[in-house]
């Protein structure tokens, strides 16, 4: 699959596993081990030295007796230990959705009779999970983990600890783990907004025009050329003349999903970018399941887009585009008018935005003036914190009034705005627009 948003300096897909390519899902290396005394050995040394020292210093041989078990345990120190081990790590799933589990399969070779413990040092948004313990002789150790937030990132690093049979020495080494692609978890959306005017392309939405669909349209008199199987016999009997059933056409539509990722909430637990991307993933899934063509635009000081496409492949291209949107951005103030190539004529434009950027608001106005039906899903979560100053309450009221004014002006232009908090189903927020077709006016 080609990279929809290639970034300069990023190795091409399909690069060999040894180099830091995008699709690196496995890592292997020979690692030198650094051996040290364990804490257990240090404690035994303390007991042995203290017991023997007190015995010598005070002339009380019973303290030497107290140190005897520790001395004998320490006497097992002289054992051959490997200088290096072979490590190979691979992910059971290199692509996942937020909240899904995956695991690192770590193969250790050259450990001989030493017990192996793997400690996962997780990267941001990776949570290690308790997994099966390593057993001597088992070829691979599985370290499960959970990805808690979308993004393209390394899983972290694995610290491999070898212990001898007597637990006196431990050798440790580390391995950088492969990268995982974690897609945003789609919200729940089962219903779809359907336009009143649909392009003449076969699909699953019932159009107003008569056609060969499955939805019953009405009954009319038979004309030569009508199919015999469409004759409505009860109506024919009542009226005394041949009557045929008519059906409505089934068409598909073009949908363009625009996600505003330029603004972020100060509270990282209520990210508006996360809400927007989860909503966009749900919408993309819902419309692609209905065989609609879906395009995708991300807005962050400048626009990047995917031209509309069909099918599961398009869904994954959109998901890849979502992951690509968080890297290497430059401040570009040239965004004001979306290009024609990204917007098929008559396409429904769904916009997930907190409506904080005035330039995006201007772009929405421009889209409406160009005749596109636009539906804004407001994902603003929370308000700016109220200060302690004398005019803090006043500033908060002004901020609220400004937000209300933006929404009011959009509604006046014929752009419906609906709020979605990211928690409940997207169907609830879209219910006023999914119950009937959305009439498009120029």
């Amino acid at each position: 699959m080609p990279d929809p948003f290639p970034v300069p300096g990023d190795p091409a897909p399909g690069s060999s596993p040894g180099e830091p390519g995008r699709w690196l899902a496995a890592a292997a290396a020979n690692r030198p081990l650094s051996w040290n005394l364990t804490r257990h050995a240090r404690r035994l040394v303390t007991l042995a030295l203290a017991g023997l020292g007190i015995a010598i210093a005070t002339g009380r041989p019973e303290f030497a007796a107290a140190a005897a078990p520790a001395v004998l345990l320490l006497a097992t120190w002289h054992r051959p230990r490997p200088g290096q081990i072979g490590l190979a790590a691979r992910l059971t799933a290199a692509r996942m959705i937020e909240g899904e589990r995956s695991a690192v399969e770590l193969s250790v070779s050259g450990a001989a009779e030493h017990s192996v413990q793997v400690v996962l040092q997780p990267a941001h948004a990776i949570t290690p999970l308790p997994g099966p313990a390593a057993r001597p002789g088992r070829p691979a150790i599985s370290v499960p983990f959970l990805a808690t937030r979308w993004g393209r990132r390394r899983v972290g690093s694995a610290q491999v600890i070898l212990r001898d049979r007597w637990r006196l020495a431990e050798g440790s080494t580390g391995l950088s783990l492969p990268r995982v692609d974690c897609y945003p978890r789609p919200a729940t959306q089962r219903t779809r907004v359907v336009l009143s005017r649909l392009p003449t392309r076969l699909g699953e939405h019932t159009a107003r025009a008569a056609g060969e669909g499955a939805e019953f349209g009405g009954v009319r008199e038979y004309v030569p050329g009508d199919r015999q199987r469409s004759i409505n016999w009860p109506a024919t009997t009542r009226r005394g003349r041949l009557q045929v059933n008519t059906f409505q056409a089934e068409r598909s539509q073009d949908v363009v999903i625009l996600v505003d990722t330029a603004w972020e909430n100060a509270d990282p637990t209520r990210s508006v970018v996360d809400i927007g991307l989860r909503g966009a993933a749900a919408a993309a899934q819902a419309y692609l399941n209905a065989r609609d063509r879906v395009g995708f635009i991300t807005y962050r000081y400048r626009a990047r887009w995917l031209v509309p496409g069909l099918g599961q492949r398009q869904y994954y291209r959109i998901a890849e585009a979502m992951l690509a949107q968080d890297r290497d951005w430059t401040s570009d103030t040239g965004f004001s008018r979306l290009p024609r190539v990204a917007l098929p004529p008559g396409a429904l434009i769904l916009v997930f935005t907190p409506l904080m950027d005035p330039r995006l608001v201007e772009t929405l106005r421009d889209l409406r003036q160009r005749g596109f039906p636009v539906l804004v899903i407001d994902v603003l979560a929370g308000e700016p914190p109220v200060g302690r100053g004398r005019y803090a309450r006043l500033a908060q009221r002004m901020w609220r009034m400004e937000q209300q004014a933006i929404r009011f002006s959009l509604r006046e232009l014929g752009i419906p705005v609906t709020h979605w908090d990211g928690e409940q189903s997207l169907d609830l927020s879209l219910a006023p627009y999914t119950r009937r077709v959305m009439v498009t006016r120029r």
């Binding site: 804490r39 257990h40 019973e62 303290f63 030497a64 007796a65 520790a70 990776i126 313990a133």
Partner: protein
């Protein structure tokens, strides 16, 4: 018939049973009890001596602190520190720092040294010191297993592997304590020192000659 006492909730009991099934928790409890037992065993004769005890109460308090610290260390051994991307507040950061310190301090070594110092404060009784030595070895083993065991059954496998050496060590402990209990060959400080040096040499020789 009601006994007048509140009946324990089944969920509460089930929770405790579930916790107790974890060998790590059993080992941690065992380590705490052994540590406390060692300190009590070493401190009792000195404390019972009354005003002549000298520094014994102070050392006992120090040892008790070490045992409590070691127990706390085992209790938080599995607590995960805030990872990258976590945003703990001031209290959270302070707690993480305290957890790190608690884990790094040598509590078990402190317990061992305090118990031996307490044992040193009262008159020589070889059997008493031998019991303390065996208990301290058990305490160190239990502490180590509680903080490093990752799977059920691992602790018993480790102990099974070390059983011959532990048995040899305990045998040597009994022999050395027995030799210390024998009537002195010579009188005075020189004779006692000679016996102690002989015992140390015997222990070290056994350690070096161990065919492992």
């Amino acid at each position: 018939m009601s006994t007048g006492w509140p009946e324990p909730q089944p969920g509460w009991r089930a929770g405790w049973r579930l916790l107790w099934r974890h060998s790590v928790i059993r080992l941690a409890v065992l380590a705490g009890l052994l540590g406390a037992g060692c300190v009590a065993w070493a401190a009792t004769p000195a404390i019972l001596a009354g005003p002549a005890a000298g520094a014994a109460p102070l050392v006992t308090a120090l040892a008790a602190v070490c045992v409590a610290g070691g127990a706390g260390q085992l209790a938080v051994a599995r607590a995960a520190p805030p990872g990258p991307g976590s945003y703990p507040g001031v209290l959270g950061r302070l707690a993480a720092w305290a957890l790190l310190r608690l884990r790094q301090l040598p509590w078990a070594e402190g317990t061992v040294l305090s118990a031996l110092a307490l044992e040193l404060l009262h008159p020589a009784r070889p059997w008493h010191t031998a019991v303390l030595g065996a208990a301290l070895t058990g305490y160190l083993l239990a502490t180590h297993l509680a903080e490093s065991t990752t799977a059920p059954g691992e602790a018993s496998a480790v102990l099974r592997g070390q059983a011959p050496v532990l048995a040899a060590g305990l045998g040597l402990l009994v022999l050395a304590a027995g030799s210390a209990a024998l009537p002195a060959a010579g009188s005075g400080a020189a004779g006692a020192w000679l016996r102690a040096a002989a015992a140390v040499a015997a222990v070290l020789a056994c350690g070096l000659a161990l065919p492992v």
